[in-house]
Symmetry: C2
Subunit: 240 residues, 2 copies
């Protein structure tokens, strides 16, 4: 989604051309071509899928809709397996009303329900806390502390967190929380926070152009034992 105008084929070809050995794919793009064909294109380009974005969006106003979303997450787990990645990233979704606590409980319950199915498919769930400015419209999970508290109810190889620099850099507890997560750090996204911020959603900066202490965060995830590929995720029409 850093290059949203490209197909999966174009993106993996560009990765191969530039010596980038991993790509994080998004379900929408995979759906355009299909899971099997996307997996083949990626494999043939010599690129591995580091993660699939995104499951989640669990809270909903009705039981039927919550059920539908759980089912959609089962499909996402299958797609992750089909693409050969072991990591499904969860953006947990907003509350359908003003009840933040209730929505947060729904998220924890949904994750718990998905863990066995994910395990059967060799997929682990990476809960991505989103910046608090997205608390109303994208995710009621807004800090690493919250994500870790949900993850810690499950085995450490099954549920963890995704650390996205753009979402967590401001948090006074960020170092301590990354250390707390330890091997539960399943992913690390980087971009930068430009000042002034052009747009909350599509105004992310190239690394080095903003104020985020990226080296410090890198050291924190390294210290936690993270050895996976680092994913560059920049939503910005001027970058793509």
């Amino acid at each position: 989604m850093t290059v949203p105008g490209w197909t999966v084929q174009q993106a993996v070809d560009a990765c191969a051309r530039h010596g980038i050995r991993y790509i994080g794919l998004w379900r929408e793009k995979v759906a355009e071509r299909g899971v099997a064909a996307s997996a083949r294109a990626t494999r043939e380009a010599g690129v591995a899928v580091s993660s699939l974005c995104r499951g989640g969006f669990f809270p909903a106003g009705t039981a039927a809709e919550r059920r539908r979303r759980i089912e959609d997450n089962r499909r996402a787990i299958e797609e992750a397996r089909g693409l050969g990645t072991d990591t499904l990233v969860l953006v947990c979704g907003p509350a359908p009303d003003r009840d933040l606590d209730g929505a947060r409980r729904v998220v924890a319950e949904a994750v718990a329900e998905l863990v066995p199915y994910a395990a059967e498919h060799g997929v682990r769930l990476a809960i991505e806390p989103l910046h608090p400015m997205f608390a109303a419209d994208r995710s009621v999970v807004n800090t690493l502390a919250q994500a870790a508290a949900i993850a810690e109810r499950h085995p450490p190889d099954r549920v963890g967190v995704l650390v996205d620099a753009y979402h967590v850099w401001w948090d006074p507890a960020v170092d301590a929380e990354i250390a707390r997560c330890g091997r539960r750090v399943f992913g690390f996204h980087i971009s930068d926070w430009i000042v002034p911020l052009p747009d909350s959603l599509y105004g992310r900066g190239m690394m080095g152009d903003g104020v985020i202490e990226l080296r410090r965060l890198r050291q924190a995830v390294d210290g936690a034992g993270f050895t996976g590929p680092i994913e560059v995720e920049i939503f910005n029409p001027h970058v793509a």
Copy 2:
């Protein structure tokens, strides 16, 4: 600043007309007419000044500039006294570089330096955490937990926090932190968070138009022992 096009005179006259017995003033507006005249206008309208906004903006790139800002905060303390309010609201300011921890230390040191002067003037300091989306450009203090940690180094009647619903509503720890602050809750600002948010700075909503659980926050500050006036602070050109 909810009615930024109005003078202090116009604002206090409107308060008097509508039976609003308190007004939170901003230094820029007070400066237009002067402290003594603003105090007189307010008093003659039968309106009391609930608080003065805003001191703060402590971190700076040089020692000389940090010193200048401390001096400016001494002026703000004097102005608060001159206006007859016991509360100066502090918006602590951004970091001059990428060193968030360093800037946070500067804030704590500056508050400590100001406490005796504020006490001499009968003014208490209310640290206002700003939403994490303002961490890069307005305040390195972004949670009630941070503000409380700074305040707790000082007597409870001298340094406390200002709870602004717009800034803290998303925080999973908001109830616990307000309870922790107890009598250190020196102020309570309300507005609402509209979805989608029209603008991070000037897109606040009228109470009830957004997703904030205002009643819950009101109960939390009541429970903490807060009995002061509730200040409506809506930055939105469509409201004024």
